[in-house]
Subunit: 460 residues, 2 copies
């Protein structure tokens, strides 16, 4: 392989080993937390039939079609994708819906699954938008109907993730489609609900005046536009304030009350997780543009990185999937892992304590005694201590510096390498070197694995 064509591809982020340790730590925490909440892992294949992917109908999805290089030789290599063309999935929801339909007979419902995998979109690359990115999704899906308490479960599981991760503070914004829907009905505008929702969904991109214009264009009076915008401006973590403020707008409808009740229940269900790292607010501007949401909707902003948009979104959909006989309603959230981590790792705001799992480098007195050093390494590994043997039997000062350069905290000296003729271990950071038994020594708990710490950033 020569140096031609060697370089980064725009939109395809890759981490150095230290960055990968940060990503692994985050993914481990995500997985552990999802499992604590009783979600089971699945993985789906990277490809789906193209027509299955396009059926979701988001025309802005830039789907990557996959084709065997030699397909042309089979007579199937037309420029236009054929009916059975395959493409890379652009999210984990469409493959999950297909998985549920395909394997329904082998699953127990309500089915609680998490899924951590890459997805691909041919978008124009920019911060927060990648062509290959890892998502971490949780969903609960049931047959025919899904109890609303699952909305709380799903939000609580994801909130628990954010409460555990060393990320900048997250704010989960919760609303329900039923709030705006009920409000519009209360205003006698049932027909205009869809248009109002789509206009409100642009509140974080357009000025309030521009959104007001779009809401008016749907067919609302100036007073109605004003009421809808006042509703969308409601933002509070206090359930009593939420109900009082909305009541103050003077619009009444059963569906509005139902929606507010759902939002309040979600807030109450995650209150014990709220703290420095996690805020949860009712935010009635949250609409989620996608047509399939019918109840709870959630977005999430990361402090100092509001320009990324929502890094964890989702909600309740009455028909995740349907096979004609059975409909599968679901509640799910999708956490954009790459979108969140790539800027934090890139800016050095989330760093690993070392770029290697190795705790101990065993020194080598000379090449002939390498097996003795390897035996020490095996003894340490047997107790779970990640160990490597120094690559070259150079002067000990060089061996120590080589370990230091690799970020390894300890160097072990076997008897052939010490004046005492006993095993000794040296903490490179302090320079302290003490006798040690390869069959008993353990590093301090804080050194056993690389740790991940937040540094600096917007708050200093």
């Amino acid at each position: 392989m020569t140096s031609q064509r060697i370089g980064p591809l725009s939109g395809y982020p890759e981490f150095l080993p230290a960055g990968r340790i940060v990503e692994q730590h985050v993914l481990d925490t995500v997985r552990h937390t999802f499992e604590l909440h009783g979600f089971a892992s699945i993985q789906t294949r990277a490809v789906e039939p193209l027509d299955v992917l396009l059926r979701k109908g988001e025309i802005d999805k830039e789907v990557y079609v996959v084709r065997r290089l030699q397909a042309a030789d089979d007579g199937s290599g037309d420029a236009e994708p054929s009916a059975d063309a395959l493409a890379l999935h652009f999210d984990l929801t469409v493959p999950f819906a297909r998985y549920v339909l395909e394997h329904a007979g082998h699953l127990t419902f309500p089915f609680r699954r998490y899924q951590i995998q890459p997805a691909w979109r041919g978008e124009r690359p920019q911060e927060g938008r990648y062509r290959e990115f890892v998502q971490a999704d949780i969903d609960v899906v049931d047959r025919d109907s899904l109890a609303t308490h699952h909305d709380v479960e799903v939000v609580a599981a994801m909130a628990d993730v954010f409460a555990r991760l060393p990320l900048p503070a997250m704010t989960m914004q919760v609303s329900s489609r039923k709030v705006i829907d009920g409000f519009c009905r209360g205003l006698g505008l049932a027909e205009q609900t869809g248009g109002v929702l789509r206009a409100l969904d642009k509140l974080d991109k357009l000025s309030a005046a521009a959104v007001a214009e779009q809401v008016a264009a749907v067919g609302l009076s100036a007073g109605q536009v004003d009421a809808v915008l006042q509703l969308a401006a409601v933002r509070t973590s206090d359930p009593a304030a939420l109900h009082a403020t909305v009541a103050g707008l003077g619009v009444r409808h059963e569906l509005l009350d139902e929606g507010l009740g759902e939002v309040t229940t979600v807030l109450a269900g995650v209150a014990h997780l709220v703290g420095e790292r996690l805020h949860v607010v009712a935010d009635l501007s949250i609409a989620r543009g996608l047509d399939y949401y019918t109840g709870t909707v959630v977005e999430t902003r990361m402090a100092g990185f509001e320009s990324l948009g929502s890094i964890c979104s989702g909600g309740r959909y009455e028909a995740l999937a349907s096979d004609g006989r059975t409909t599968y309603p679901g509640m799910g959230l999708s956490f954009g892992v790459t979108r969140t981590l790539a800027p934090l790792i890139g800016k050095g705001m989330l760093v690993a304590s070392r770029p290697t799992p190795t705790v101990v480098a065993v020194a080598v007195a000379d090449e002939a005694s390498r097996p003795a050093s390897t035996a020490v390494a095996d003894a340490l590994r047997a107790r779970g201590v990640a160990t490597e043997v120094v690559a070259a039997a150079q002067r000990y000062g060089k061996q120590i510096r080589s370990a230091q350069r690799r970020g390894i905290p300890f160097v072990w000296f076997p008897p052939a390498a010490t004046e005492s003729g006993e095993h000794e271990v040296r903490d490179i950071r302090s320079g302290e070197q003490v006798p040690a038994d390869p069959a008993a020594w353990l590093p301090p708990a804080s050194d056993r694995q690389p740790t991940v710490v937040a540094r600096g950033g917007h708050d200093g």
Copy 2:
């Protein structure tokens, strides 16, 4: 989504949740063992420039080209892939070589990495051959030269994986290119070495007579063919027998001795890992067809699944990558995780103790008291006990059966659900129900995570 186009795709295996737990357990063991041996994780993007992938020159690779669906609208949608076309990687070695060249300035050498990711090949699907499959690779790579003791390290790390996994017995077969190369030189056949290697590589597909014919066709006399086939028949785990048998063939060459020395060193370096689950033998028939191997070569067979071919292969290559100024030699092994697990999981020979991470299902007295049940779940989760709350407040018998159907071992009854008015926990398997404190109770260690066990199979 309707039921059209819902179904499996040939060559793209997917596991049900219980199978995925088996896969996770294996991948966790692989990762943990690689890290114990001081290998750092990296992940590379799924795509590489097509010309980088094709440069490796294995013409039988059925590469999947990736193209944006809307590329045709950009004027770049020709049927023939363009110069900057991207394709899915078909192994992890080519992307690793590119990663090393791209990031060399930020890595410390020798660089020890592992990489666990899917790869894609448009092969005709059959048992052991998939179009999407997970590989687990380890490699050590250095600049300019790489000491031979790294060959032992890499084989030992992979052998340690097999010694820990509940798989059918593995046999790692070790040789060195230098053995056959030196033997041919000793016979005065330096020019014919390549042809001999390629012929011997077919020993597990063709009869000995057919291979003999191919060896003869390279230009060897009957006696030379016989000597080469006798060499290739040497198979022993005893270093002394290895040297004696080869010496008995009466061919001498410095390179042959060097190769035998390397094989012996590898055998000695993994001897402490050999046992019921792992055999390691010198097998001089192992040639690996690929031109880039120059020293140690390894293949691995799984007992009862010999028809899969080698499930873990690799070796020493003098030029993993080169940028014109610097050459990067390496030593690596690649474990075919999907190839190994898909048949074992499919045949029920490797099973999870339950299909969910959940240890405890908390019963619900009625919907009004669901928050009290959720509080119990949160108390258990705080101590690492995976817990869910029963989905519907049905009769308790139904709640127990629902948990049982999900494979959950324990049901927790909060005070509102017990005659005693105290918290109680029931082991569904034994039916035993005892008082318990949500702030203190822990399940038996064996129930905390699903366990993975081998069952039945070829040996009963």
